[in-house]
């Protein structure tokens, strides 16, 4: 975990290299792409989607203006979740001297993964399937990803609309992890680690669960908007990162109160607002399914907020603002995989569970002694796990015929599938994260020096100060 001037310059070079690589590959692709007749995407699509081709006599899929409006709106909403939503939610929880470095995590990832997704991420996750494990690089640089619908994924919106909606999920997932390593991670180590994580953990996982041909999707695991892919994976990665990095200096002895709770509540509110895009947008069309997901999302969130608040009230004697805001986020997490498959009434139960479970989650970290600084694991890891399992309990075909019945609706098999999906995700995320961290630690280092940590990361990593 040493930190040398050399390495830093080396990293700047690497970052610049990434961009220049983009530049290089782009000139080729861009020219090739656009020189081809505009029909090119249409040609590519059937190859990637034999089922659709089989349904030939039907009219070709057409963009629906309402569905497209909803998905574009949803995409913008999910962007808002990462920055400023998550950036402020996390930023307010840190100490003043680390506020910018924490905000930087989210903002930088929004930029980095936006580019990664266009260049290779989308292709790995959703491109033509390779053995159920990963997408091919056929769609790298968005080659063949055009403005007509790809009915494999969404039949009434442009393929690029689906692509960019999914981009925002790829962006926020690593940003969620950053809550666990706030206030002590090197910027270069963070940047390299997260680029690797997005490529080697997130992209495959997204393929398994959502990609055509992905093995968990084929198996029938239900994950409406990303409980396993987004929340379990990031939460578990957060736990591992907290363990590998070790505690922040002063944990347990110094007073580390959040420096700006109004900022945190602002962030939580924007997360709630944006999550409608995340969950209801995952219907990929505007109508009944989106509406149902919207209603369950709001209901579970409200209930979880109240249940965390009441749990803390009973446990500690007073209801807190941070508690109700954290509970809301816990509810949003838990309803994510379930929102399109369950009734509003079931969503109340899911919310009730989420608030209590995640509150207990933040308490245990004191017992186990890891320093998950802003509780990424408690909220996303545990909340996501509860949500994925609850989907296996409460899912109902009466709500979504394309889904499945859960345990409480007479289908224990679905619950078993959900358990499998959860376990797979836990193990894959934990092992993968650990390996990547060790590699990055060896190559560029993970942790700032004690002197840098004491001075605060805003100054030591970024030469800035949050407030003057």
């Amino acid at each position: 975990m040493r930190h040398t001037k050399k390495k830093q310059q080396w990293m700047v070079g690497l970052m610049a290299g990434l961009l220049l690589m983009g530049l290089g590959s782009v000139v080729g692709i861009a020219l090739a792409d656009e020189a081809a007749p505009p029909a090119a995407p249409a040609v590519a699509a059937p190859a990637a989607a034999p089922e659709a081709a089989a349904a030939a006599p039907a009219p070709p899929p057409k963009n629906d203006s309402g569905d497209t409006a909803w998905v574009l709106t949803s995409t913008a909403l999910v962007l808002l979740m990462t920055a400023p939503g998550l950036a402020l939610f996390y930023g307010g929880l840190t100490r003043k001297k680390n506020v910018l470095s924490t905000i930087m995590h989210s903002f930088f990832l929004l930029c980095l993964i936006s580019v990664q997704w266009v260049l290779w991420g989308y292709s790995l996750a959703f491109g033509p399937d390779k053995g159920g494990i990963i997408g091919s690089l056929a769609w790298a640089g968005l080659s063949g990803v055009g403005l007509d619908p790809n009915p494999d994924y969404a039949a009434t919106i442009p393929h690029q609309a689906f692509m960019i909606f999914q981009m925002m999920f790829a962006v926020i997932t690593p940003a969620l992890i950053s809550g666990s390593f706030a206030e002590r991670m090197k910027f270069t180590g963070f940047a390299v680690f997260i680029l690797l994580w997005a490529t080697f953990i997130y992209d495959p996982l997204a393929h398994w669960v959502w990609g055509v041909g992905g093995w968990l999707r084929t198996k029938g695991a239900l994950d409406f908007a990303g409980g396993t892919v987004v929340h379990i994976s990031s939460g578990v990665a957060g736990l591992i990162t907290a363990l590998v990095l070790g505690k922040r200096m002063g944990v347990g002895t110094e007073h580390m109160a959040p420096h700006n709770l109004p900022m945190t509540v602002l962030g939580a509110s924007l997360l709630w607002f944006g999550w409608f895009g995340f969950n209801a947008g995952s219907a990929l069309a505007s109508g009944s399914l989106a509406t149902g997901a919207f209603v369950t999302t709001n209901t579970a969130t409200a209930t979880a907020a109240l249940s965390w608040m009441v749990a803390e009230w009973i446990h500690r004697g007073k209801p807190t603002t941070l508690g109700i805001a954290s509970g809301a986020v816990a509810g949003l997490v838990a309803i994510t995989p379930a929102c399109g498959f369950v009734s509003p009434m079931s969503s109340i139960l899911i919310g009730l569970g989420a608030g209590v479970i995640c509150y207990m989650g933040v308490l245990i970290k004191g017992k186990f002694g890891y320093d998950d600084a802003l509780d990424a694991f408690a909220v996303h890891g545990l909340g996501g796990t509860w949500g994925a399992l609850a989907t296996g309990l409460f899912a109902s075909k009466a709500i979504n015929a394309a889904g499945a019945d859960g345990l409480f609706f007479g289908n224990p098999g679905q619950f078993v599938i959900q358990i499998e999906a959860v376990l797979t995700t836990w193990i894959f995320a934990a092992v993968g994260t650990f390996i990547l961290l060790k590699i990055v630690d060896m190559v560029v280092g993970l942790r700032v020096t004690p002197e840098e940590e004491q001075r605060g990361l805003d100054n030591s990593l970024h030469n800035e100060s949050g407030y003057a």
């Binding site: 007073h255 109160a257 959040p258 803390e312 446990h315 500690r316 007073k318 807190t320 941070l322 508690g323 954290s326 509150y359 933040v362 308490l363 004191g366 509780d375």
Partner: protein, 112 residues
Amino acid sequence: MKKIEAIIKPFKLDEVREALLELGVQGMTVTEVKGFGRQKGQTEVYRGAEYVVSFLPKIKLEVVVGAQLAPRVLETIVRTAKTGSIGDGKIFVSELQDVIRIRTGEKGESAI
């Protein structure tokens, strides 16, 4: 000349200031400080973890006055800043060698 430093409860500031004004005190300087003492600190709870914030917000009032006005200033502060409950604060009195008014360069008591 005396320098009188009083640590008081924040919400008492306006009352004390007005009383001093009536007494003829023409200026004072105020600093936001944190005090630690017999008064029990506040409990704060963040995500179930309890902290005791032992330093409480206080106001430090600095008044420089001539020696003859000092006793009445002290008495006035004690009277107006008192609530009777723990944490009302302290007054520290020390001797000042000189005072200069920057605007005019005046020195001594006339500079106050």
